[in-house]
Symmetry: C2
């Protein structure tokens, strides 16, 4: 049992409202069970952070998210700075009040979307999808920050470490993240090293701006800042970047940047970082969260995950089905037309308790709005059950057996 | 106080599971307060029936409908016979179980959609919208029934009084409706008279088929049949049709067909029918349900209304706002961008208790699925509050004062 001593930033002390305690360590891996305390509640880790990209989980109300046993969600600075704008969110009371979510929240820095949309390929590379041409919206990166065009109307926008912190202060999430440059994975070592150094300088500027604002949101609530580890696929750079975050007074550590060209390389890259992160701080893995990924990440020491996948695949008719090939069922498939069974036998989510596969199939075929909503509720409930199961298995030392049940051979 | 004696059909007696009692009559009009009993619950009247066209209230779960204090919903035979098909619904336990709604339900006969899509104009005329050219899908009407093409794949389909009852038996709603021919309003008196006579013969065949099936759904639950009054805009035909329904052992009476070219003519047409309907049976006005319409209809003696409007306008960003011009607010309007107030001050619906106009404006502008859902919840709650207010005002003799509060001058 190790209680993490929250670092001080200047005269700031995260410990007043934030904390991270490691309750149990897995003897067979870096996995650990923890407790992350925020002003909007305490969550147990490992845990999953669901994406309310534009201050809304697509089609699912906060009450339905709670019923599916969700602990924590995130929103994206990039999308919200463009629409409705951070000042509007602040005027309407900050993200929690704006969207009616009273639990813990995280916002990212905006960097990932600027650079992935800008380069047109980072997201696809990180997620292992084939790269497709997209419009490039990133116009200029300098020491000062990144200049890019609005996805909405093409207008010029600028994000620096300072403006990212300022926007996240107005949004008012509990956990906020420093701005970084997110490079494509195919760039060479020199480019990656120079980019990493820039991200480190941006990290220091983020810390300074965060301290300048007293670590408080525009609505006067305390926030806690995560640093980001960059360094591409290069072990020495990843180590250097992890040690950078370790040496600075961040509250938490995020593993970001290009995680390689495949799932195997992604696990390798995470493994390069973990021996060098601050051992008493929560570690978040940015943008990764398949069922198999969660088991791999937890063993490597990851405390929190986020991914749009559970709700995005629901909108295309895919329901998470632990143990099934690909971990999912396509409910649009004709074989479900008259199927009276629940999506997942034994699942106690609202969807499985009430509706048949046949009904969900009908909603999808009829183009009814309720279809994506009900499947999203199931998928969210599955991810939350997975995380509860993982925490219990870590405490019991039965993670291998649990993985065998959840992941198809 | 008058207790309606439920009519017997052959050896059937609706009274075992169905009933309609008039609890109070307004001395100043034909308005009345009643209680309508079904196997899935008892509702007070006047009341509003919400449209779950394809076995789903678009974007709103049954639980959310209940929280908005909904008593009764309907589904459309026409849409469900095409997708997923009545046999699929029956195999999955009937509509109540299929869609997870355990309260009273009505299905229509399919006639309105066949004929309105077929003639390409009836719906627009009845609703007072400008007629626009649409594809004609009605291919042939004969004594036997109506032949039409599927909106989904163009395949040929056929609906007769008998097949409509058979399909509604498989769907398994509490309240079912006879097949009728729904004519455009501009047809002449002779055409209207011949069509009305056909609908009456179809009414008798519907009663015979209903009795042949023992008045029971495919899942063994009792159902109750409504007859429909036709006769276009012709007072003598409306009287003749009302007297037809009164003389037959229907459980309830529906006012259908062309209701004229304007709201004023619609009220006149309803007024032509009401002196001649069976006084002890519930009267439903098909497809009408604006706030002003409800007051007019209630005074004319209507017990239940249905209309897609509350949820349809929500999908376009319109929130019902009693007393506002046009009875609604367009939440897409830029003036709501930073508005911290609820849609309707004082409204106790889940949407008004939790979210600001500014947040709903953002959801609409961002194209988020949750926008139509949250506005639909408000609109449904408003209609349910309207009906509660109307019932209370009728009991108190304060309907005029209530109308002045709800309807803009």
């Amino acid at each position: 049992m190790t209680a993490g001593a929250p670092p001080a930033i200047g005269n700031l002390d995260y410990g007043a409202r934030f904390g991270f305690d490691v309750l149990h360590r897995d003897p067979a891996s870096r996995a650990r069970v923890g407790r992350l305390r925020t002003p909007h509640g305490t969550i147990e880790t490992p845990n999953f952070i669901f994406c309310a990209t534009k201050a809304s989980i697509k089609g699912v109300s906060p009450q339905q998210m709670r019923e599916a046993r969700t602990d924590i969600i995130l929103s994206n600075t990039y999308h919200l700075m463009i629409q409705p704008g951070a000042d509007v969110v602040a005027a309407l009371g900050g993200l929690h009040r704006f969207m009616g979510w009273d639990g813990p929240m995280l916002t990212d820095s905006g960097g990932f979307q600027i650079f992935s949309m800008g380069h047109g390929s980072v997201a696809d590379e990180i997620k292992g999808r084939r790269s497709q041409p997209r419009e490039r919206t990133l116009t200029r990166v300098s020491e000062k920050g990144a200049e890019f065009r609005s996805y909405l109307d093409g207008s010029k926008l600028f994000l620096s470490p300072e403006t990212s912190i300022d926007i996240q202060r107005k949004l008012g999430a509990d956990l906020v993240v420093q701005l970084d440059e997110c490079t494509p994975f195919h760039v060479d070592r020199d480019y990656t090293a120079r980019s990493m150094a820039l991200s480190h300088r941006w990290g220091d500027r983020s810390l300074a701006e965060f301290a300048r604002g007293g670590g408080m949101s525009a609505n006067g609530e305390p926030q806690a800042l995560y640093g980001i580890i960059q360094g591409g696929v290069y072990p020495d750079l990843r180590r250097e970047s992890a040690e950078y975050t370790r040496g600075r007074p961040f509250f938490g550590t995020a593993v970001g940047g290009s995680l390689g060209a495949s799932k195997e390389q992604m696990y390798e890259v995470v493994a390069m970082c973990m021996p060098y992160v601050h051992p008493d701080r929560p570690v978040h893995l940015l943008g990764i969260g398949g069922i198999a990924d969660v088991f791999a990440g937890v063993r490597l020491g990851i405390d929190t995950f986020d991914c749009v996948s559970p709700t995005r695949i629901a909108r295309h008719g895919w329901a998470l089905a632990p143990g099934a090939p690909g971990e999912r069922l396509n409910l649009r498939n004709a074989r479900f037309r008259s199927d009276p069974g629940p999506v997942e036998p034994g699942c106690d989510c609202a969807t499985c308790r009430t509706w048949s596969r046949g009904y969900l199939h009908h909603l999808l075929r009829a183009g009814e709005l309720l279809g994506p909503t009900l499947i999203s509720i199931h998928n969210v409930a599955v991810m939350n059950r997975l995380m509860r199961d993982v925490r219990a298995a870590l405490a019991d030392g039965t993670l291998d057996a649990l993985e065998a049940r959840w992941v198809a051979a």
